[in-house]
């Protein structure tokens, strides 16, 4: 039985009675694209550029059709520090909202469950997200949304997720291009940590660390497979990311439907060997997406033209792409 997320609410009552077995159907359909995965790299010199035009170009290049779909935009908003660039810039979020609305999506929401800080609205305020028109009507605090259990998550019998994320037809990972002191890099796939509700698992979402960071990244991306990635690499973060690193201008947006392919491309741009990033190895081994360069159809800018090596902490020096 295949259950689409949009079928979720009409079936919710039956689902509560029958358990959550239907979700397995969603996960079993996860396979890497048969052919090469298109990944679009577009230059943007600053957040003042016409980002909507670039995102529209990226969406079209990837052949994404969102008409009549419920779209959830998932930015990276783990916490806020005015001295660095932890979060997906508000300009990228606003532009993505504009594009998906213009493309005929039935609903476009913005949702995030920050991993460290309790006061979600304070973070969205500090990150200037509330400058987006009617933001409070569009935003869902995924840490405190109503939840439903999904059966099997790594070695756990079940995992709870926000209903807003489960019922979305498309989750758009609006990630930030950053190094990560545990995972090596945090890009579109790890951004899904914010889909795990703090109200159930706490702040931080320590359950994911106990399961294993790479394992959790892969599992989250199996569950939320109907996804699209837009990585904010206009200004990324190098060094001791994802919180205490240093701003790193790269001046690109990286987009695609195959999230492992997008993340692998971002790694190459950052001067990181994606084959040495454990979650990407697991994603490739699990047939979740394409990671090898030969299986990625690069569109827009060539990697060699935008590559800029990100500073790596000592323990990750070995990740450097030759």
């Amino acid at each position: 039985m295949k259950i689409r997320r949009r079928d979720f609410f009409p079936l919710a009552g039956a689902g509560l009675l029958a358990g959550y077995a239907g979700w397995e159907g969603m996960r079993s359909r996860r396979n890497a694209p048969a052919g090469p995965s298109p990944v679009v790299v577009l230059k943007a010199s600053s957040y003042s550029d016409d980002l909507a035009q670039r995102i529209l170009q990226g969406v079209r290049e990837c052949g994404l059709d969102v008409r009549d779909q419920k779209v959830l935009l998932k930015p990276n908003l783990v916490e806020f520090d005015p001295n660095t660039c932890i979060n997906t810039d508000v300009a990228v979020v606003a532009a993505a909202y504009e594009v998906f609305k213009a493309l005929g999506a039935a609903e476009v929401l913005i949702g995030e469950g920050p991993g460290h800080r309790r006061d979600t609205y304070s973070i969205v305020e500090m990150a200037r997200y509330r400058e987006i028109s009617k933001f409070d009507d569009l935003f869902v605090d995924l840490n405190r949304d109503d939840v439903t259990a999904v059966e099997k998550f790594a070695d756990r019998n079940e995992m709870y997720f926000p209903n807003t994320a489960l019922r979305a037809d498309l989750v758009v990972s609006l990630a930030k291009m950053k190094t990560h002191h545990w995972a090596g890099a945090t890009l579109s796939m790890k951004n899904f940590f914010g889909l795990v509700p703090g109200s159930v698992y706490g702040w931080p979402k320590n359950e994911l660390h106990h399961i294993g960071i790479p394992e959790s990244i892969v599992e989250l991306n199996r569950i939320f497979r109907r996804s699209f990635a837009i990585v904010d690499g206009i200004v990324g973060m190098e060094g001791n990311g994802p919180i205490q690193g240093t701003p790193k201008p790269v001046n690109v947006l990286v987009m695609g439907r195959d999230l492992p392919a997008v993340d692998a491309t971002c790694c190459r741009i950052m001067g990181i060997d994606p084959a040495k990033i454990e979650y990407l190895r697991m994603a490739a081994d699990g047939n979740l997406g394409n990671v090898e360069e030969s299986h990625i159809e690069q569109r827009g800018e060539k990697i060699s033209e935008v590559r800029t090596n990100f500073a790596l902490i000592d323990s990750f020096r070995g990740l450097r792409l030759s």
Partner: protein, 292 residues
């Protein structure tokens, strides 16, 4: 009263109570334990609080713990909130003792014997004292500041009725754990004062919660000044509410920031309840604990 800082918030809470007696985080959603706990504290003595308690009590799980919301088969930190509320309501019965037993048997996994052994022979550097036992958000994970602080409040209240050595031991160990994970700047974040050798900054809301858990401990005094500065500077209405409650319980005069009586600006009902709790005439005293 109706137009006062507290009155506005009481009105919001009364109007937003769900038909089942609980509160959601945001109006129109399902009832959750955390906002229901704070709603019941704010309206303590009101029939609305009785309805909230009746709902919460019905959620207790066979192992004595409470889940974060109805039907979520997760044992965890909300148990401490329920014991605190039960004590405040004078409902110390079999259900309370079962919950207490659950908290006493639960500890963060970092204090497990094998981890302590690895740390002792130098194979891991946890950067903290693994012999200290705190509490996790969810059973089977590590200890963190917030669940430890909440459990200390619950256990200290229980200790006033049941002065058992097991309680004293866990209270002292939990307090020591909080002090052990205090950040270099004098406050607390979620419970990780450093990562990969770099000091981490503290947060206002978790600093306030740690201070609540450390009521009666002289070592907490040095963090009170930081909390006072947070009260002035933080843009977070949730953090301001928590700091106000913590400072009042530490006997610090808190400047009157309760006018105008407009809403908090946050649609989170937990923030509304915390602001009401910390109002000068609010029920913050219900979270007062004595030294064990």
């Amino acid at each position: 009263m109706a137009d006062s800082f507290l009155g506005v918030r009481l009105d919001i809470l009364r109007r937003s109570q769900n038909p089942d007696g609980g509160w959601s985080y945001y109006t129109g959603k399902q009832s959750w334990l955390e906002p229901t706990f704070y709603g019941a504290l704010v309206l303590h003595g009101d029939p609305a609080a009785d309805r909230a308690w009746a709902l919460i009590k019905s959620w207790q799980q066979p192992d004595g713990s409470w889940p974060p919301t109805a039907g979520a088969a997760i044992s965890g930190w909300g148990t401490a909130l329920c014991l605190t509320l039960a004590h405040i309501r004078g409902e110390v019965d079999g259900s309370f003792l079962k919950g207490l037993a659950y908290l006493l048997k639960t500890a963060g996994t970092e204090s497990e014997l094998w981890r302590r052994a690895l740390a002792k022979i130098g194979l891991i550097d946890p950067g903290r004292n693994l012999s200290l036992k705190g509490w996790p958000w969810k059973e089977g994970t590590s200890s963190w500041v917030e669940p430890t602080a909440h459990t200390l409040i619950a256990l200290k209240k229980a200790y006033a009725l049941l002065p058992a050595p097991e309680l004293t031991e866990r209270i002292h160990s939990g307090e020591a754990l909080l002090l052990d994970v205090r950040c270099k700047d004098g406050g607390w974040n979620y419970g990780s004062p450093w990562t990969l050798g770099e000091d981490q900054r503290s947060y206002p809301e978790t600093t306030a919660l740690a201070l609540l858990g450390l009521q009666g401990r002289a070592e907490a005094a040095s963090s009170v000044d930081l909390a006072k500065s947070w009260l002035r500077d933080t843009p977070s209405s949730m953090a301001r509410a928590w700091i106000t409650i913590a400072l009042r319980l530490h006997g610090v005069a808190v400047p009157d920031t309760t006018s105008p009586a407009k809403g908090s600006g946050s649609p989170d009902l937990t923030v509304v309840a915390l602001e009401a709790l910390g109002a000068p005439e609010g029920n913050y005293r219900l979270l007062k604990t004595e030294k064990a």
